[in-house]
């Protein structure tokens, strides 16, 4: 049923630290790798080795240059994927009931055997989180690796989304935002923010704001060396050259 649950017991999601992300795209690759081989239709590629390659991805890493009013510009790497919104507009527009938000943990999923591939959910999402697979004709989106996080066949440390597990800098954190004591809730409380809050989607995923850069000292690093008086031969040379 594509009506949204009034309340979810858990709010599983990601906290993505824009301060720590180095833009290596390892999460993109890990996501594509995992979601190619288990849950639902594989993420297909078209013309993969040709002139115009194109493919389905559930996670994309943008890089932005941000220019503050004063000082130098900053480069910020920005992973973009499904935010598992509490008021997910992609769910309510679905005519077949293929799109749904789980009452137990808040994950937004697509039941591919019900999806007719009309694309309306992708239109409804302000964040571009959904991509229609050109091969299977069904809508693909982040599943929060629902086939990993509850999977008792995996060692416990692997029971988190592939992107989180693979991130080499620890920029991605997975947890329950409904629990105020969880790691992700604590992180979000300090630096978390929502993307396009005015769209009224109430995203579960939070982005952690980059910390302020250290201020560059105005004094030269060579300052202690600049006052040295030249002595001996160098001093004589200094005086002679100064007089010419």
């Amino acid at each position: 049923m594509t009506c949204l649950p009034g309340h979810t017991q858990k709010k599983l999601g990601l906290a993505i630290d824009l301060d720590t992300c180095v833009g290596c795209h390892a999460c993109v690759t890990a996501c594509k790798g995992w979601n190619d081989q288990g849950y639902g239709a594989p993420l297909s590629d078209q013309d993969a080795y040709g002139a115009q390659p194109s493919g389905t991805f559930l996670n994309r890493v943008h890089s932005y240059q941000v220019q503050p009013d004063e000082g130098f510009a900053q480069i910020i790497n920005f992973p973009r994927s499904c935010l598992h919104c509490e008021d997910a507009p992609c769910v309510t527009v679905c005519p077949t009931g293929a799109s749904y938000k789980r009452e137990e943990d808040g994950i937004v999923l697509v039941n591919e055997s019900d999806c007719i591939g009309c694309g309306l959910c992708a239109w409804a999402c302000p964040y571009g989180a959904r991509e229609m697979d050109a091969d299977a004709g069904v809508m693909k989106k982040c599943t929060l690796c629902v086939d990993r996080i509850y999977n008792e066949n995996l060692p416990e440390e692997d029971r988190e989304p592939a992107c989180v597990r693979t991130c080499p800098t620890g920029a991605r954190h997975f947890g329950d935002f409904a629990d105020p004591d969880s790691k992700v809730s604590q992180l979000a409380a300090k630096r978390g923010f929502d993307l396009m809050p005015d769209m009224g989607t109430r995203p579960v995923n939070k982005y952690l704001a980059p910390r302020p850069k250290d201020k560059r000292s105005e004094a030269s690093l060579l300052a202690p060396l600049l006052d040295i008086e030249a002595k001996g031969f160098a001093g004589w040379l200094d005086r002679v050259l100064g007089k010419i």
């Binding site: 194109s54 943008h62 941000v66 527009v93 077949t96 019900d114 009309c118 993307l195 005015d198 769209m199």
Partner: protein, 289 residues
Amino acid sequence: MHPAPSVIIFSVLSGLGFGFMVFLALGFLPVAGGAAFWIWGVGYALAVGGLIAATAHLGNPQRALKAFSQWRSSWLSREGWAAVLALFVMAPIALGDWLGFGVPFVWRGLAAALALVTVFCTAMIYAQIKAVPRWHHWLTPVMFMTFSLAGGALLALQAVLAFVLLLGLAVVMLVLFYVGDRQFARAGQSMETATGLGRIGKVAVFEQPHTGENYLLREMIFVVGRKHGQKLRMIAVLCAAVLPALMAAVGGAGLLLAAVFVHLVGAFAARWLFFAQAEHVVGLYYGKR
């Protein structure tokens, strides 16, 4: 937004078909006997043909029947129900006109109302989408319904009504162009709000996330052909509304039928622009609109 031909054909033809059937159901064009069969056939062909065209853009059309299940939340599902109900409720009226038995006026009114509800639901599929600010306006359903009724009146040879409705259509189109051009700014979304990085400063794209094409760029960040936007707008308003209105003012069945074709040219141009000029906020992530 990508102007998919199937969706343009669907919304234009179905809109015209349902508009035509409103006038047929209410008895504006008295038809009887064999002629009634063919005239109602035109209405059904337009409405049903459009609906079939719409299934062409589906990834898995074999499951299209499942789209009837979510009428509680989905305008697309409601549209499916409204269309099927309208076509069923129209059937006894069409048969009555053909075989010569009467249908109560309440039933005729219900059929006309259902046809209009269908067009309203079609429009709401677009108008509900907040992420496309140009569409997210109450004038969008007004525009769809005016198109439907104006085209329907022409096809039903109602010169006076068509003249008035076509002038109304011209006004609605022009106002919607004006309002629509300002909708994205009104929505207040920018690269700064999309990324949340406005707290630091002005945001610009440093590097795109991928060098190739993807679904988002093809489907929602369609920028081809905006160059001729202004000319196409003039063609749309002239052909869809102004010229047919003048032809309706002159009158005569032949001229009214010719006006339908002129109107259709304008309607296709207008509907193409409706998609091609609509900008999705996801473009902001790519520094495009």
